[in-house]
């Protein structure tokens, strides 16, 4: 460090304040999304249970994580999906509960029916299968990891085997999504809010 004496403490304080403010901003943004975002419940696709709680976080798979062209036939923008691009997926409620993909595109949809919800994700991979009409797209929404306390993974894993898991997701108006908690066999597990 080569700092003039009279500037030393103001600069140190300024940097510490800026970094703290940035972290608070990060927390506040998430906090607001969880609080004000629209809550939807997505069923978690059965994963190999041995894989599920092996580490200190769970990898969650969703039906909407992989899209095929049949989901998006109405969408002329489908060709815009390349690895790394944005993906906006419109979900419509199913009559029997749960959500189904109504539309998918690389820009925010121009019209969204009331009741529908738009999720923003990032395309992980897009590849054409042998049938040229079919393209498979893998999308990540940033809700694929659920952290669990160290050592409790095994218990949850046993609990989860042969049980139905759903993820409670808060969706913001821009499509950003955050996990609020899990529903295991109708039992709601949710982290208490920070503040």
């Amino acid at each position: 460090m080569i700092v003039e004496r009279k500037w030393l403490w103001p600069l140190l304080g300024g940097v510490a304040f800026l970094q703290s403010a940035a972290l608070f901003g990060m927390v506040y943004e998430r906090h607001r999304l969880l609080k004000s975002g629209r809550e939807i419940t997505l069923s978690v696709r059965p994963l190999d249970p041995r894989d599920l709680f092996r580490g200190d976080y769970v990898t969650l798979g969703y039906d909407i994580s992989t899209l095929t062209k049949s989901d998006t036939e109405s969408d002329p923008d489908y060709g815009g999906f390349v690895a790394g691009s944005d993906a906006f997926v419109t979900l419509a409620p199913k009559p029997e509960g749960g959500w189904t993909v109504a539309h998918a595109g690389s820009t925010y949809p121009s019209k969204v029916a009331p009741g529908e919800v738009v999720l923003k994700g990032r395309v992980l991979s897009a590849w054409k299968s042998q049938d040229p009409a079919v393209t498979n797209v893998t999308v990540r929404y940033g809700i694929e990891q659920y952290f669990v306390p160290e050592g409790t993974g095994r218990d949850l894993e046993a609990k989860v085997r042969d049980h139905k898991i759903e993820a409670i997701v808060a969706v913001g108006s821009d499509g950003g999504a955050a996990i609020k908690g899990l529903v295991i066999d109708g039992e709601r597990h949710e982290d208490p809010p920070l503040l």
């Binding site: 940097v15 690895a83 952290f147 996990i179």
Partner: protein, 364 residues
């Protein structure tokens, strides 16, 4: 100032004095001048830096272990307290003149800033944005490094910029051009600080980036571009050295890094891209001629870094060619013939160089 240089000069000074070329006053003046230049990197500050790196790793693994017994707000408060404590200790040490130890405090806080980002990501189950998290981290450390003029923190920033680009490249499998923005910002900061090891780090990072382009553009087959960029950069360094001899301390390292980049491109073109025999021979001849030219030039300029890189590249080249040619149409005997011609040419070049320096010495 690096101590090997100091030691070398001191040894030479002693020798010159014993030869009677240097008076006692002259020796005292030279030693005083050398001692006064630059700050020594003492053991305490080196250990301080290491300790702060270890503290940072401890914090990160602590967070990774998902520290459930403590309420989340308290965890966040603890990490923020660590950030402020690191800066507080840095200020206390700086005020007492322990400038290098103060750097360790700043580095510690920058590590804690990253640990806090990880903790918040974990608290809110934010998945799959490791690259965004590292981007956030390096912007924070860049601000700290520039505002507090802390070289170790700027070095951490350069490393984080590389990690960020690496994560982005593995995500998208495409050239990550925004790397150049981060690289440029940190390099300007290094230049502003006049910190040579940092500029070497910049050169190394940029070399790695150029090499990565070869594996990413044109579905991983644009190594010719890497070789051309390397050769052009080397020629640019030579031109700089000729036009502005006073800038040779910049041109010499640039030349060395450019040679390494150019050879990496040429090596991949020859041995990984399964070049047909004719193309391989042309490329091998070009490579060997260029390497000999580099060796001759580096010897003439006293550029030890470039000389070593060229020696190593030459050895790798000859061994790889040997491996490829054994049992092929070219035949081992032809290979040895080529090797002999090259070595003879080298010997001739060395002889001429020796003569030149001898005649130069006589003229002086």
């Amino acid at each position: 100032m690096w101590s090997p240089y100091k030691k070398r000069v001191l040894r030479d000074v002693d020798r010159w004095q014993s030869q009677g070329w240097l008076s006692d006053e002259g020796r005292t003046a030279i030693v005083a001048d050398i001692q006064s230049r630059g700050r020594d990197f003492n053991l305490a500050s080196a250990l301080g830096i290491l300790a702060s790196v270890l503290f940072g790793f401890a914090a990160i693994s602590f967070v990774a272990a998902h520290w459930e017994d403590v309420p989340r707000l308290a965890r966040l408060a603890l990490l923020l307290a660590c950030i402020w404590a690191g800066y507080g200790i840095a200020g206390w040490l700086e005020a007492r003149g322990h400038s290098l130890l103060a750097d360790a405090g700043v580095l510690f806080s920058s590590g804690m800033f990253g640990a806090s980002i990880m903790l918040i990501s974990q608290m809110y189950h934010i998945a799959g944005n490791a690259a965004d998290g590292v981007l956030f981290w390096w912007i924070g450390t860049l601000v700290a490094g520039v505002a507090l003029r802390s070289n170790p923190t700027l070095a951490l920033t350069m490393v984080l910029v590389c990690v960020w680009s690496f994560l982005k490249i593995s995500e998208n499998n495409d050239v990550h051009w925004p790397f150049l923005i981060g690289w440029g910002l940190v390099t300007v900061a290094f230049a502003w600080q006049r910190w040579w090891p940092g500029l070497h780090l910049s050169a190394l990072a940029l070399s790695l980036f150029i090499v990565s382009i070869g594996y990413l553009l044109e579905s991983g087959h644009s190594h010719d571009l890497v070789a051309i960029v390397g050769v052009l950069a080397a020629l640019g360094a030579v031109a700089l050295e000729k036009l502005r001899p006073d800038l040779d301390h910049i041109a010499a390292p640039v030349f060395a890094y450019a040679v390494a980049v150019a050879y990496e491109g040429l090596f991949v073109l020859q041995f990984f891209e399964s070049a047909p025999l004719g193309r391989l021979i042309v490329l091998a001849v070009v490579t060997l001629v260029l390497l000999i030219a580099v060796i001759a030039y580096a010897m003439a300029q006293g550029n030890r870094g470039a000389l070593w890189i060229a020696y190593i590249a030459f050895s790798i080249e000859v061994l790889s060619l040997y491996g490829v040619t054994v049992g092929s149409i070219l035949g081992t005997s032809l290979f040895f013939l080529i090797a002999a011609v090259i070595v003879a040419a080298l010997a001739y070049a060395a002889l001429r160089l020796a003569r030149q320096s001898q005649s130069g010495g006589l003229a002086a």
